[in-house]
């Protein structure tokens, strides 16, 4: 088990390195482009040359890469062109805000989707199952930007119950988080519920569940002790991977509701060609994604006795 964990961590480190190379090649290879983005489109060639020289951009590529990577490791993420502040100082609070939003999403998402998925899977083909399945499909068909529009139309313009933006200008209020959380949960619960349903339905048709029934065990014990134990392994992995999905989803939601989170930062930076912020955001996003994937992998191995006890 220990060997597995260290192997996975090693793999994670390797992935991060390769990704960093990709990001670096993508964004920093064209040094004229970098200079233009930093100094603005109206800068002259001479100004750019001076800046490039001062920042070591005429060094060989691999040297620049190693230096760049080193900066990242230490936490020096450069200076944001747009905000005129160190990137690290901007990134931190934004990440925290997105984390809060994410926490809210998961607190609602996990119980709802698991329960619905299990109920649907237990009674496969029944009316409840059809209702849950079809509503899952419908909600996953409405992209986040569309559901933001719909929900805003209902709750903000129609009923005037909730505020339309979540800028948190008066400090942190739960009320402003409701719509963003609702949009994200609405879109994603369908997917997780359907994965859970598929896993549960499959387990219910296995021979060991049949054995449990034919052994005369009470139905509740069959479900709780025999079926769920195996059925929840796959959804666990799926849920862990939703963190990565969340990082994508917040880009739309935060931008729509003006919530000062990580996603909004990335979007703004991209639209404004704020290069160092883009790099920092990319690396952070990949780091979070790869970490959760690794955790999911390790968790899956732990939960599955066939792999855990060879």
């Amino acid at each position: 088990m220990l060997i597995l964990i260290s192997k996975r961590l090693g793999l994670m480190a390797l992935t991060m390195v390769v990704v960093s190379m990709l990001v670096f090649l993508l964004l920093e290879v064209n040094i004229q482009g970098v200079a233009t983005k930093v100094l603005g489109p109206y800068s002259t060639l001479d100004q750019r040359e001076i800046w490039l020289k001062a920042n070591g951009y005429f060094d060989p590529l691999y040297q620049r890469y190693v230096r760049w990577l080193g900066h990242f490791a230490v936490g020096d993420l450069g200076q944001s062109v747009r905000f005129k502040a160190p990137v690290a100082a901007i990134l931190g609070p934004r990440l925290r805000n997105t984390a809060i939003l994410g926490l809210g999403v998961f607190v609602v998402l996990i119980p709802v989707s698991l329960t619905l998925g299990i109920l649907a899977g237990m009674r496969e083909g029944s009316k409840l199952d059809r209702v849950i399945s079809v509503s899952s499909i419908i909600t996953t068909s409405v992209p986040e930007f569309a559901s933001s529009v719909f929900l805003a139309a209902i709750f903000v313009f129609g009923l005037h119950w909730l505020p339309g933006t979540s800028t948190m200008t008066e400090g942190f209020t739960l009320r402003e988080l409701i719509l963003p959380i609702l949009v994200l949960v609405l879109y994603d619960f369908g997917y997780v519920a359907r994965m859970t349903r598929a896993s549960m339905a499959e387990v219910m048709t296995t021979h060991y569940v049949r054995t449990a029934v034919l052994k005369g065990l009470p139905y509740r014990q069959v479900i709780l002790k025999h079926a769920l134990r195996n059925a929840l392994i796959a959804p666990f992995t799926v849920i862990m991977l939703q963190v990565s999905w969340l990082l994508s989803g917040v880009i739309v939601v935060e931008s729509f509701f003006a919530y000062r989170g990580f996603g909004a930062l990335l979007l703004e930076a991209s639209l404004n060609q704020d290069i160092f912020v883009i790099e920092a955001c990319a690396m952070t996003a990949v780091f979070v994604a790869v970490s959760t994937q690794t955790l999911a992998d390790i968790g899956y191995t732990y939960l599955n006795p066939r792999i855990r006890f060879r």
Binding site: L214, K215, P305
Partner: protein, 715 residues
């Protein structure tokens, strides 16, 4: 579920038969309408009795078991009839009452033991659940009971098994655990649905013996469901034969097996290769025709269209009831569903097919010398990294030596893990040998993979595969797949000629020509296997390897396919390398036999030599493990104890040493056994001197000169 409600204890009548089924009708509702699966089924089981239910796939035997447990799934329903357990009508019970019965009074065991166990719970927990739920005992009492029962089913080291997960023990051990789980609450009735089908033959023998003893030990009645008449004979007192949803004959083992009266039962016996059978002297006689589709059963007798004694007007007039058989030594409860049973004289007609001339054997076409195939395995455990030995070897084939001649049938026999499939792969080029020579038609192909072989080499060596459902590509038509082979090997080039040839092949394998256009999913298992044979012979190969070609088929279908294979072989003078674990088929088919165990050859020789003493101890055990359906045949019982050694860590000496009942001593563990020649071409790899081995009693002996009632002898 109202778990708290106290239900009244059920009014059992201890004097009534343990199980009494009367006129049971079970149907499944499908898209095509309602399909009857079990028709007018009646059966009685007394206390301590062991009843067998035998039939081929689709006859409804498993449905009967599930109907008894009242667990037929969403689509199945009991249309009419009664099932009484100790006087209590099961069809009228509520769910909660049924739940109390299941697992405590009536238990069920079925095919794949690993699938029946929850992979995420320890075996101990799964075992202890039964008495805790049904009798309300505490955990320590439940644990003690579980360990006791594990001992009863002859599992070594019960404590370790209690703490283990299902995947950590072997298949045979898993089935023993499942049996233990079923016996924990001392059920009155045990249902066993093909419990040994997924297991190796020698393991199966052990489990079968265990099951046969259960009735005595526990006083449990049993219903044993199988397609294998031999197993039924070893386990049961009475037997019911089912065909297409109905019972067609019932009686005691002695009466029914000696003198079967229904043409289907008689036909079934004719499909089984018996120990003294020989493919030339007494070929198998397959039952012609096909099982009727469930929604198209014929009027009157279901077996009518396939029966040699069918009489129009009599056999298809109305439903036929069960009539008792009298005279001829039959016991009182021997009954058959046939109107003509008293008129039919099976002896007069050819019960076995026409005798044939033996085939001429030619020169050597295959020579295998010291062939070795090792698979490399990267060992990722901590110990390996530390010790530096990262690469381990699975010794799939170790020093194989034998040959085959033109027109001969050589059988390679062994259980799973013996390396026979690996050998086939090396021969055909899907793998390359690690060392040694394999000469086919003079050329050494041991190290040549398929891609490196010439077209003539490839076309002269083809294969028939095991699983009929996988052997054809579902996306292409039957004709296209055969035509592909013809085209690839350049047998014919013009489209018209290729088509002609495909038609000719379809004729040879006795399939209608219009199957050319059909998709595989429209064919039955036996038909698909015939296409597989046609495909293998399409390129006029000089040698064909058949890897367990009939293991997945029903008895009567297997007989037909086996006969077909021998016919074609005879016609084309092809050498046939027949791989199997089934010694009865091998005895019937093969000219020479090679017995393998854990990658090494234990014995080889002609069929006659291998089946009579001197035996290698493994051959002896293998012979003893084969279930035989003939009541006149007496078999010595040898049950192997001990475990199959791990493939990564085979014993230094003889591979059979961990289980050998005739183990001599330390020499068996340490030294490779020498190859002793008992006769010309008969080799045995054993430390025991030949003189001792020759003294051994034959495993199989036939009590009377005519083993079965109807056997036309030649000459």
């Amino acid at each position: 579920m109202n778990a708290g409600a106290r239900t009244m204890p059920l009014p059992f009548d201890e004097s009534a038969p343990v199980l009494e089924i009367k006129d049971l009708n079970v149907s499944y509702s499908t898209r095509a309408g309602e399909i009857p699966a079990v028709i007018d089924f009646s059966l009685t089981v007394q206390k301590g009795e062991s009843v067998g239910l035998v039939g081929e796939s689709g006859c409804g035997k498993s449905t009967v078991a599930l109907a008894i447990m009242q667990h037929m799934g969403r689509n199945g329903a009991i249309k009419s009839g009664s099932i009484r357990f100790k006087g209590v009508e099961l069809t009228k019970l509520r769910q909660e009452e049924l739940r109390q019965l299941r697992g405590s009074k009536i238990s069920m065991i079925y095919q794949e033991p690993f699938a029946a166990l929850n992979p995420s719970l320890t075996l101990g927990r799964q075992l202890m659940e039964v008495p805790i739920v049904h009798e309300g005992v505490g955990a320590s009492e439940a644990r003690a009971r579980a360990i006791r029962v594990l001992g009863d089913v002859r599992l070594p080291d019960p404590e370790r098994v209690m703490a283990a997960y299902p995947h950590q023990i072997s298949g045979g051990q898993q089935q023993r655990v499942v049996i233990a789980m079923a016996l924990l609450s001392n059920p009155a009735l045990l249902l066993l649905d093909e419990p040994t089908t997924a297991l190796d033959v020698t393991v199966e023998a052990g489990i079968t013996k265990l099951i046969a003893n259960i009735s005595e030990q526990y006083g449990t009645s049993q219903i044993y469901i199988s397609h294998n008449l031999g197993l039924i004979r070893e386990v049961c007192d009475r037997v019911f034969v089912m065909y297409s949803g109905e019972v067609v004959e019932e009686g005691t083992i002695q009466s029914l097996f000696t003198r079967p009266k229904h043409p289907y039962t008689h036909g079934l016996f004719g499909c089984i290769p018996l120990p003294s059978a020989d493919k030339n002297a007494a070929p198998l006689k397959p039952i012609r025709g096909q099982l009727p589709l469930p929604h198209e059963r014929p009027r009157g007798c279901n077996f009518g269209p396939r029966c040699d004694f069918f009489q129009a007007g009599r056999c298809d007039a109305a439903d036929i009831p069960m009539t008792p058989i009298t005279g001829d030594g039959a016991t009182p409860d021997h009954r058959a569903r046939c109107t003509r049973w008293s008129e039919i004289d099976f002896g007069a007609t050819d019960a076995r097919g026409h005798a044939k001339d033996p085939m001429a054997i030619g020169d050597t076409v295959l020579e295998v010398q010291r062939m070795r195939k090792y698979y490399e395995v990267m060992d990722r455990s901590l110990a390996a990294i530390i010790s530096g030995k990262r690469v381990r070897y699975i010794k799939a084939n170790e020093s194989l030596d034998f040959d085959a001649r033109r027109g001969e049938t050589v059988a390679i026999v062994g259980e799973s893990g013996c390396g026979k499939s690996t050998f086939a792969k090396v021969l055909i080029g899907l793998e390359t040998a690690t060392a040694g020579e394999v000469r086919h038609d003079g050329q050494n192909v041991a190290q040549t993979p398929v891609r490196g072989r010439s077209s003539t080499q490839i076309s002269s060596l083809q294969m028939v595969f095991q699983n009929p459902f996988d052997t054809l590509n579902p996306s292409h038509s039957v004709g296209a797949q055969i035509a592909r082979v013809i085209k690839k090997f350049g047998v014919e080039t013009s489209k018209a000629k290729i088509r002609e040839r495909v038609f000719a092949l379809l004729d040879t394998v006795k399939l209608p020509r219009e199957f050319y256009y059909r998709r595989p999913r429209q064919l039955s298992g036996g038909q698909k296997q015939r296409v597989g044979i046609a495909r293998a012979f399409a390129g006029n190969p000089s040698m064909v390897i058949a890897d367990e070609p009939v293991s997945s088929l029903d008895v009567s279908v297997a007989a037909a396919v086996t006969e077909l294979l021998t016919d074609i072989q005879r016609r084309h003078q092809t050498t046939l390398l027949f791989i199997s674990h089934d010694l009865s088929v091998v005895r019937y088919l093969a000219d020479r036999i090679v017995v393998m165990y854990l990658g090494q050859i234990m014995e080889r020789g002609t069929t006659q030599q291998v089946f009579s003493p001197p035996y290698h101890p493994y051959t002896e055990a293998l012979l003893s493990a084969v279930p035989i359906a003939d009541p006149q045949v007496v078999k010595r019982e040898i049950v192997l104890e001990g475990n199959l050694p791990s493939v990564l860590n085979p014993p230094k000496g003889c591979p059979f040493t961990t289980r050998c009942p005739r183990k001599v001593g330390r020499i068996c563990d340490d030294e490779r056994p020498p190859v002793q020649m008992a006769a010309e071409g008969h080799a045995i790899a054993c430390h025991i001197p030949l003189g001792v081995l020759r003294e051994v009693e034959p495993v199989i002996a036939v009590r009377r000169t005519e083993a079965r009632l109807t056997r036309p002898q030649r000459g």
